[in-house]
């Protein structure tokens, strides 16, 4: 399979055949990430003060970027339906609150979700033996196909971290490319599970690998591993999509998932998107939050700004 994998270093524009050696050559030619610098820049961007009108706008934008998620073994049709209803009308008392971007469920629940949201929201389904990714390729492809058949128009796949960490980049590449093929028109989000990748260098390599293999979105985490999304990790991924766009003209989305629980955190991420990737990424088509409890905090902050009083958890729905 021939692909063009481009790297920021102009001298290293190589066309590998997706063999381990070719991919390794390219991925290891990527410049290393200065971890201290990345953490410092993330911390600096997190300190920016967003108030009043800007905060109001940011909260609504953040709500419209949420992938409202339930990924529990104990999920029931009733719970998924209730979550979908909330996704359409996050605050029943306030019609001005925008709907979220999508609901995110296990593949077998995609049909139930689709029945509630119709074509008003995206339905994202996790597939490919989520969250571990430990299954045969045929199983992963069947998992993907089943989710799409049930109505999912976005697939959140996990990469094979074991293969990635052993340097078996070809396998990871091939699996992503095959799943992308199985997706057809559906959007593919590739979960890197950065909490298991150990270093920011690996996060950068995995980001490039996923983009080269056909990802429409790169996503930090499953939410099942700690640490999940962090600001430095998301910073590195935002740099990757920015650089990818510069080289190829194609914009890839980013989705931090897991561990983002407060409106304050969400606004920090939005600041980072604006400053690192650019304002073009400040749209639900290119940036999402994978979250469940975040939506409630965004609603509480919105109520606080609307009424002038602090709101409380009794004023939003819980599942």
């Amino acid at each position: 399979m021939g692909v063009t994998l481009l790297v920021p270093d102009a001298a290293a524009n190589i066309t590998p055949d997706a063999s381990d050696a070719g991919l390794r050559h390219v991925l290891h030619a990527l410049p290393g990430v200065d971890q201290v610098g990345a953490e410092a820049r993330a911390a600096m961007l997190a300190s920016r003060s967003i108030k009043n009108e800007a905060k109001r706008t940011a909260i609504d934008l953040a709500i419209s970027m949420v992938d409202l998620t339930t990924l529990e073994g104990a999920d029931t049709p009733g719970k998924v339906q209730a979550m979908c209803a909330k996704a359409l009308h996050p605050d029943p008392a306030d019609d001005l609150v925008p709907p979220v971007a999508a609901v995110c469920v296990y593949g077998d629940m995609a049909g139930i979700a689709r029945a509630v949201v119709g074509d008003r929201l995206h339905v994202a389904a996790v597939a490919t033996a989520f969250p571990s990714g430990r299954a045969a390729l045929e199983v992963k492809l069947a998992d993907t196909a089943a989710a799409i058949e049930r109505g999912a128009d976005e697939i959140d796949m996990v990469i094979d971290r074991g293969a990635f960490l052993t340097g078996d980049y070809g396998t990871v590449f091939e699996q992503i490319a095959k799943v992308k093929q199985a997706c057809g028109d559906a959007h593919l989000k590739v979960i890197l599970e950065t909490g298991e990748l150990r270093t920011l260098d690996n996060v950068r390599r995995a980001s490039w690998l996923a983009m080269a293999a056909g990802a429409d979105f790169i996503k930090t985490s499953t939410g099942k591993i700690s640490p999940a999304a962090t600001m430095p990790v998301t910073l590195v991924m935002l740099e990757a999509v920015r650089d990818w766009h510069q080289r190829t003209g194609r914009r890839i989305g980013v989705k931090p998932a897991g561990g983002i629980r407060t409106a304050k955190d969400a606004i920090r991420y939005l600041v980072m998107v604006q400053e690192v990737a650019g304002p073009e990424w400040l749209t639900p088509d290119l940036f999402r939050f994978g979250a469940s409890s975040l939506l409630n905090d965004l609603l509480l902050q919105r109520q606080r700004m609307a009424t002038g009083n602090y709101s409380g958890p009794d004023y939003v729905s819980h599942d």
Partner: protein, 287 residues
């Protein structure tokens, strides 16, 4: 010659079992009863109040879920710690209220006794306040007091220790958690009480103590939708009291207001009742 540098104390807030400075970075000077500068205390802001309510909400289910016996034991432990700090309390009460150390010693006695008295009510209040009710049907019908939830209190302005203890103890003994704004001009005994609470077995967040201006943070607490009840004992300004009650009405917050208190007499069960609600259960009989 004596060259030792003074170790001066920073008086801070008490939120979620920790001692943070005010988020705003502000402080205000505290004078003793004779008007001489004594210390700088933290001047709490609305965001400190917000953090304190969050801490109190977080602690509430665990504290209410503990057995009444256990809560009583924890409060008794607090009394033990109060006893251990008695010299410091006597000094602070004497200086802040401008009374003799003998009189201050009597007040500290009364405060510790008051705390123990309320601790004892922990597993007895339900017997007195609850009931089993005769009903016309095959049901065992009984009523029990349950905690209201998060209670925001403005502590008495004059009685810096005895008044404070008499307000805090009845709130928490039944399973509520609290955010307390200490006496504005006499906050130091409250900060010392916070140090006692932090070193007893009281879970963090059950009592949160703010120092500062009740007229500034009070209305924020009153309007906060996650505050379930309001104790306005220490509000001296009628305008502020009205403002807070209006704000509280918006979110249907229980209010204890217009109390004239003599802290030296037996308090009775009024304050326990003020921050509990009666739940009635119908249980089928027979089978």
């Amino acid at each position: 010659m004596d060259t030792r540098v003074d170790v001066r104390k920073t008086y801070k807030l008490f939120i979620n079992g920790a001692f943070p400075r005010s988020e705003s970075g502000r402080t205000y000077p505290v004078s003793d009863a004779k008007g001489r500068f004594w210390a700088n205390a933290s001047l709490a802001s609305r965001k400190d109040a917000r953090d304190a309510v969050l801490a109190a909400r977080g602690a509430q289910p665990g504290w209410a879920g503990a057995t009444a016996y256990n809560r009583g034991q924890v409060l008794y432990r607090v009394a033990e710690m109060l006893e251990g700090r008695r010299a410091q309390f006597e000094d602070e009460v004497a200086r802040s209220e401008g009374i003799s150390s003998r009189k201050a010693s009597g007040i500290v006695d009364a405060a510790i006794d008051r705390w123990v008295w309320y601790a004892g009510w922990s597993d007895k209040f339900a017997q007195v306040s609850g009931s089993s009710n005769p009903v016309a049907g095959p049901y065992f019908n009984f009523s029990v007091p349950v905690p209201t939830g998060v209670v925001a209190a403005i502590a008495p302005q004059d009685s810096a220790l005895l008044g404070l203890v008499s307000v805090v103890a009845p709130i928490i003994v039944t399973g509520n958690t609290s955010v307390v704004v200490a006496s504005q001009e006499r906050p130091l005994p409250a900060v010392t009480l916070a140090e006692v609470l932090a070193t007893s077995d009281l879970p963090g967040g059950v009592v949160n103590i703010l120092t500062g201006d009740p007229a500034e943070v009070g209305p924020w607490l009153a309007g906060h939708a996650d505050v379930n009840a309001l104790d306005l004992t220490g509000v001296t300004d009628d305008g502020v009291s009205t403002q807070m009650q209006v704000a509280a009405a918006d979110t249907i917050t229980r209010v204890l207001a217009d109390v004239t208190a003599d802290w030296t007499i037996d308090p009775g069960l009024g304050r326990l009742r003020a921050f509990t609600e009666i739940t009635t259960v119908w249980h089928p009989q027979g089978v």
